[in-house]
Subunit: 438 residues, 2 copies
Amino acid sequence: MNALRIGMVGLGTVGTSVWKNLRSQGELLAARCGKALRIEKVSEKNRERARLAGVPEAQMVDDWRELVRDPSLDVVVELIGGTGVAAELIRESLSHGKDVVTANKALLAEQGRELTAFAAERGKRLLFEASVAGGIPLLLALREGLIANEILSLHGIINGTCNYLLSAMTSRALSFQEALREAKELGYAEADETLDVAGHDTAHKAVILSALAYGFWPALYEVHTEGIQNVDPLDLHFAQELGYRLKLLAILRSHPKSGEIEARVHPTLLRKGHLLSSVRGVFNAVAVRGDVVGETLFYGRGAGGDPTSSAVLSDLASLARRETTAPSMVPSGRQVALTLRPMAEILSRYYVRFLVEDHPGVLAEIARIFAARNISISSVIQPEGHRGQTVPLIILLHQSQEADVQEACRIIETLPTVKRPAILLRVEDLDGEEGRSS
Amino acid sequence: MNALRIGMVGLGTVGTSVWKNLRSQGELLAARCGKALRIEKVSEKNRERARLAGVPEAQMVDDWRELVRDPSLDVVVELIGGTGVAAELIRESLSHGKDVVTANKALLAEQGRELTAFAAERGKRLLFEASVAGGIPLLLALREGLIANEILSLHGIINGTCNYLLSAMTSRALSFQEALREAKELGYAEADETLDVAGHDTAHKAVILSALAYGFWPALYEVHTEGIQNVDPLDLHFAQELGYRLKLLAILRSHPKSGEIEARVHPTLLRKGHLLSSVRGVFNAVAVRGDVVGETLFYGRGAGGDPTSSAVLSDLASLARRETTAPSMVPSGRQVALTLRPMAEILSRYYVRFLVEDHPGVLAEIARIFAARNISISSVIQPEGHRGQTVPLIILLHQSQEADVQEACRIIETLPTVKRPAILLRVEDLDGEEGRSS
């Protein structure tokens, strides 16, 4: 049987899992692909890692440059991460006629457009199923399963660390710091948690999902990104009371008439009835609405060596099974040039919490300021206090434009009875019956 | 631009939707496939349907035999249903060098092994993404996305009618007949509901899923199949009380050591915490556990013209995009010959309800009979009654073998204090943290 000859660079968590799982699943994959998948060469600076993973000395290559130039290899798997050497490595591999598989979301978010174009020019494939929601074959679903659909919207819980933290804060009333300490102990958060909790990792994945769903790579720095580091347990409490749960979501939405795409990342209130709101712990889930198919949802483990290596191996299997070089990206199919809709122009529902002095007339004053901008209020929670005390005032707004809501809040914050900057959270009502659980 | 030239047979709900959606999504699909998808010929006996769908007279073909022999066509889409003419049509199409796309689950469940082999011998592809859980790209996920995984188990809600009925009975305490009447009015149940409510449709799909997951086609008549037509609202009530919901599931499970596959269809109690238990109304959802990836779940609309046509179009796109004839099925990859595990030998947890005379000692007697077969009881609900009255007695059993439980129930039913045949429902505990919602 002939073989797909693979060179792998990087033996961290994912690389080690790919090595291990290709050994255990090798027979299965060979039977299913009609071709053996064989890792011929591995490059990893840290020789101790290679020894621990059980990679024979003879297969180790000191310099990745040597590996990517090896004419006996068909594919290079890039698992070193980062955006410097990794980019060079991928270009070099493609230039030397290799297909490339990567899990590098930071790199794709930054240079995905250029790298996929570079691959296409050379008739090579650059595959990256593992870069978003590792255990969920989501890119495949977007690229092939839902190919007949214009993607109307996508709502994704795609950072397991953040979902773990918010789940723990919600179900056990922990503070953010308490939840973070626990997550670090359990290995669900990195020593430096910033990339995850500030929403950057989710934004990386949002950019990649936009490319898959729309053939459109938004500039990473233009994707509105808020993390969960400032989420106050008080808001989790009031959200709960209003029938919502708070999740960090990546949201994509298309506006075919204007050719605009929304791509944003922020903590979002979701109705408790919706399946997404029930996704707990480190799991990922992505709700995708297509114009033909209606609502779909995909759920699974988003990170970790095994789920991620399942995705890397499926990319390798796809290379092994197809002799043709089908494109790894699908174009949007629409003739309009797509642009990112500015955050100020999005429409959303909102949850706003003010800290106010408990005086008669405060709510009336605030409501007047909203009304002057045509923003209407759908509900209010105003816990009773003593006259003159400061109390929280929670207001849910009907669909309004971001800029108007921001402006109204800035004005309200200048009122003498309002004591602190407003806490503003967006609310997504995933429509209709669809996706509602009982 | 060259085109994929399609002949379609059958203009029912699905056929009409495929025609309509290929018109609306044609530009999108052409851009994404690098090739136009063009329905050149349509065969449908009922000319009125063709007229209503807007198929031009010039594209209509009276005899499907003429259509499948047309040398200008690349693909035949079979959407007439049934197992007679449809089988002949598919064989004829393959014999005449066409690839075939079908949504015909009854036919595949009956003759899928022969038909896929027939296609493979001719180097042609027989694709059927639309045959199971239409709106969910599930077969694609099994065939490609999870290709590196041995599928450990699969639990699927794959009949929208049954899920609608059970949801309505649970949330609004309707009887089966009341829920059925409503479902018929809403178009969620066929005039003759038997195929759906007796579990046959689910069994058809279970056979197809087994083929995808294991390369193993169980004989349809050997798949243990129970429907929901006898579900008593009383059991929905007690299930609720015990923290469960009742769903009609297709269950697959592999036993690699013995080379056995479980494939069965029956109403099943699922813990309320699990996402599957929250799937409401006509939606479908399938939880798939892979040995590498862990638990995944796929959710969407299972039936209806639009979701089903989304799947048909994705199969057509896959034919348009690939010049190679990759296999439409994946072999199991294991060297063992697989067999179906007999129902009597499966292990499960159970819910059993007896109708008993309210006498002291009745429970002890029943417990003794279970214990004699090493079946242990995990909980009991015994509503209080008056001495001598008949009352329900609900017993949850730990994992036991089907044959033992059945035998114990037969013996218990002979007790003078036991008034009616036992109601027996199986319970699936989808393990661990995975798939648990909050």
